[in-house]
Symmetry: D2
Subunit: 357 residues, 4 copies
């Protein structure tokens, strides 16, 4: 039985590169040989035991690669084709998917909904920090890479670009809006780019690191608020002349950013939450207008599926958004443990790493 | 100077009937002689000092009456015409109004947004528990009562019908949805009727009082959950075969109902909040899917303006919704203090009172 | 090789009952034994050669039956289970489906869109006027029938209920709207029911046959306009006091009804077109406000997929809509040619026929 | 009585500069001294008698100026303030406005809707090709110009920018969409910019003039189709690899562009019509998918009101869209007849003219 290398969750604080069998290809699957992948902040939560996964699971959910083998029922693709798949791989056929909630895809035997059930790679199925990954429901999830785009150009599509853009989409950013983005990590940076793509005229990025601020400016931030330089809410209310923002995007997953996002909203505004929270949230009575402020709070898990990937790659191909500055470091798969070491400690100004098997 | 009777907020726990001058009519106003009005739960918050208003303010925000005098710029109406106005009286001309947020209407000098700023009657302007009320921005707010409808038939339109229906509208209830409504007071009952009007197929009402349950059934509740008979979340999950609901409407304004509403949502579902909260809210980490559940939480203040009133009266006229069972008691304006006494203590099975000057 | 009976298109004006092999079940399919089906107006177009299909194709797209055999990849169902499938059977996995356009589902090899490509039964695949039908993409399309519902109660779900309701949904009917429905055949009658389910307060049905008018009243029409009694546009403008309607639903497929629907719209209104047209349409310059009237014209093909079917059956189960009066005649499959004869000529007050193998 | 100069419609083919009294200021009005205005294609229709207006009416609907006098009820502004108003001046207070249809604003005495009734300047009220213009419902329509923006920078906001952007907005352009814009006059060019602002990744402009093509490229067109170089539909289907476009924007007002726009749509796509038509339209049966293609056709009249103007000027201030290349010629008000001569004949590569009194 042929084997491959895979980054496997062993126990809290241990993800190691190990050998595993190359998976067998079922009728609905595709086996993809990974050519580039990356590490996500969520993988660090897994590493630290903050997000539970099964021991022995292969980690990673951002695959760029080449079709190695197609299941017997998977038509319209060919072996050797360059493809990506989303971090979220909806079946397209469950009640949840047919209800427009592919990210909350669940088993067909019941009602089809399971919170975050569309996230399978590196969560409930073996992921893609490996030589090969098995893509489930391949018809709905494989998306060919347009000619002329490199692996690194499309590496952000499966997760952070899809997630960040959805922050602006679910926030319903419209032409002429003022938007604030809380935290300028990779997701927040993509939210800035998404707000710009949706027509915001004023985009305020909030962070404390100057490199991130600079990347944010390049992606569309018109103003930067440094949380180290004073109260964030006051700074934003000052920048908006007391009006507040139409849409606030939370991109970190903490009470502090969530609460500030709520406090800078104009009445009737929308808080679009992207963060993964690890503790309860608190909504201050006054910040919520006692329930009379027409506020909306929406949370979004990364949209997936091949149509989403096709659209994101079309944006990259158009040259409208260039996320290549986010890839700050590159590693071989053999060195993935070092990559985790660097990324988990956010050393050396790392934003995203590219991993090549 | 002619005077009139008015229910005035004097201090905490004291609303009294007093004499005040009949207001002067500015160019944009209309003076309406009240023929019927009512007391709202919010008025009880004011009475108890839980919601602050200026001392000496006339209370009440649900006017049904007859045009006594029109401001010089108010065309298209005539004196003697039967009209209502919404509890919320947007100007139609502020930045907030033109942005679609009439309930958050604010002063024109700045940006136009003020939380709950569209609520003027009995909040920032004298209200309608009086012989006369001055309707601001009368062009946008006076709405003629269709022939054949009685005062009591349209008495719920200005506030609870508009608010309750908005719970279903902002919850985006669609055909075939399962909806749960938490608390079957007047607002919750109207939310039940609204969910039915929007096409829900399963409507679960939650309360503990049998009279309310009965009214809820008449307005469209297909199932009732009695919170006295066990855990509400478990009961609802049982009724829905473990699926949860598409939309949960909160109609009380407490942490308990808010949290239960969140816990019964299917992933991707919407919590539509109508309650007026008097303390902070808490979002349990797990009930929010750690931010990955695609949940939406929307809060809504009663929509106002004459077009809204026209539509609600059209629904009444069509016979599709009959809220007359909600009027359980009737008082003369001279007896309004007794009406407050009864209503504030929820004695004698009171749901809504009709006050006639 | 086992055979079955099937109503087959032979040539223009000839659909005959013939013997065909029982289809083989592929990995993604389900074989359903038909217990009840019906004939649709579209089948009459096929019969007359107005809508082209391949010679030898089995006709019919409204299946109610029992699972006879499941493909190897179809989990979550069991043989012997009572199910329906929609007239439209989207794969859920094409670009079109993942874009929210399941009715326009196309082949995966290209872009996924093909006009009306989601309509497969009796169009591009063998249909269900037969002893058995093969359901493609069974995971996305089989929907269990709730206990307690009879075949005839759910017989309208696959097509006319889904289509008629979509007229109101795509018309964005909202609470308090005035709606006109042009032609009260089965689709128009379901559009009336859909408008009512979406909260319309005034629903004007237009037709010339008194039996249809009566059924329309039972399903929610508040007013009826008889086109035999004078100009339809004038009658509707009179009923609405010169205002016009918010939404006009076209349910026949002719220039006359289309044009009248446009002419009764208030500025900013929506024409929701359900008809199948067999000739070009003409938009009079003035009826379109010279392009300045903010009018919308939307056309819709019957939404399909199991989630849609689940919701429609939930509406039936709730008792909110009872379409059983539409089944006016019943036939055995052996007599289907007689059923076509009756239905195609609209004899004997026929609305829908139930066919039982 | 003080007089002013005004461009007046005298009769077919005659608009002349004449003296008229400076208008009196009613309580709800503002008198604005024009500092810059322009001529619109619609004015040419008026000139030619194709769009009827009253003889003696002052033409023009794109005002940039300074508040000269405020009506007694107009607060929140000050005399001497630089402002614009939209071409469309909704009252904000009619049934139509409160229904979200400000462009279809009508008289309050009835239902509030009148086709294109929100267009008052140079249509039903005296316009702004004059020394002064009276702005009706000034509270809803005056919008201060942000510091630092010149007259010419905001000159396109009242009409063509608002109209062009609305083509993309009503077309519901979303991230990654393919959009085609038919005709690259000033409106079409703004539609290109709007499609870009809404996130389109491929924007195909269709025209025959190379100067317009160049401006289109600068505003976001990624591809240009020259109608002189072959069949437009075939060219676009070729560019999109046979898929068609998600949104087609019609920006001319002819059968040819309308029909081509429909023919290049993918099933389920949206035709967003901006043109002013002067004859009936024809929808070919096949291009409309016989009614089964899920197509939408939406028409839009320029959105107005001060919030719209505020947002458009925010976009200009952000530097995201620069329409200054559109102003190709400049005239004094005294020379407006020459300006009409040039503009009506589209001489000398004119796109827009700036008129300064």
């Amino acid at each position: 039985m042929a084997t491959m290398r895979a980054a496997v969750f062993v126990e809290k604080n241990r993800i190691v590169l190990d050998d595993k069998p190359i998976p067998e290809v079922g009728p609905l699957d595709a086996l993809v040989r990974i050519t580039t992948t990356t590490i996500c902040g969520t993988d660090v939560h897994i590493l630290r035991g903050e997000y539970p996964v099964a021991k022995g699971l292969t980690v990673g959910h951002e695959p760029v690669g080449i079709i190695e083998r197609l299941g017997s029922q998977v038509r319209g693709f060919f072996e050797g084709q360059r493809v990506i798949a989303g971090a979220i791989t909806p079946s397209g056929q469950s009640f949840a998917c047919l209800c427009g909630c592919g990210s909350q895809d669940g088993p067909d035997t019941r009602h089809g909904f399971r919170a975050a059930g569309g996230w399978k790679f590196g969560n409930t199925l073996d992921g893609c920090q490996a030589d090969y990954v098995l893509v489930p429901d391949a018809l709905a999830n494989l998306c060919p890479i347009p000619d002329g785009l490199s692996d690194e150009q499309v590496l952000m599509c499966p997760d952070i670009m899809s997630t960040g853009f959805s922050g602006a989409e679910r926030g319903e950013v419209s032409i002429g809006d003022t938007v604030a983005v809380f935290a300028l990590g990779p997701i927040g940076l993509c939210a800035v780019a998404g707000a710009r793509l949706k027509g915001a005229s004023m985009i305020i990025g909030v962070d404390g690191l100057s490199e991130r601020m600079n990347v944010a400016r390049g992606l569309g931030a018109t103003h930067i608020v440094d949380f180290k330089k004073g109260n964030v809410v006051e700074q934003i209310m000052g920048l908006t002349d007391g009006r507040g923002v139409d849409v606030a995007i939370e991109a970190l997953g903490t009470q502090g950013t969530f609460e500030s996002a709520l406090r800078v909203l104009r009445p009737g505004g929308r808080l679009s939450s992207l963060g993964v929270y690890s503790s309860d949230l608190h909504i201050p009575y006054d910040a919520f207008g006692a329930g009379l402020g027409d506020y909306s709070i929406v949370s979004t898990l990364c949209p997936g599926g091949k149509e989403r990937m096709r659209r994101l790659m079309a944006v990259v191909a158009s040259g409208r958004v260039d996320l290549s500055p986010l890839v700050t470091h590159r590693f071989q798969l053999d060195d993935i443990e070092a990559a985790y070491e660097l990324f988990a400690h956010q050393r050396d100004g790392v934003m995203k790493v590219a991993i090549t098997p």
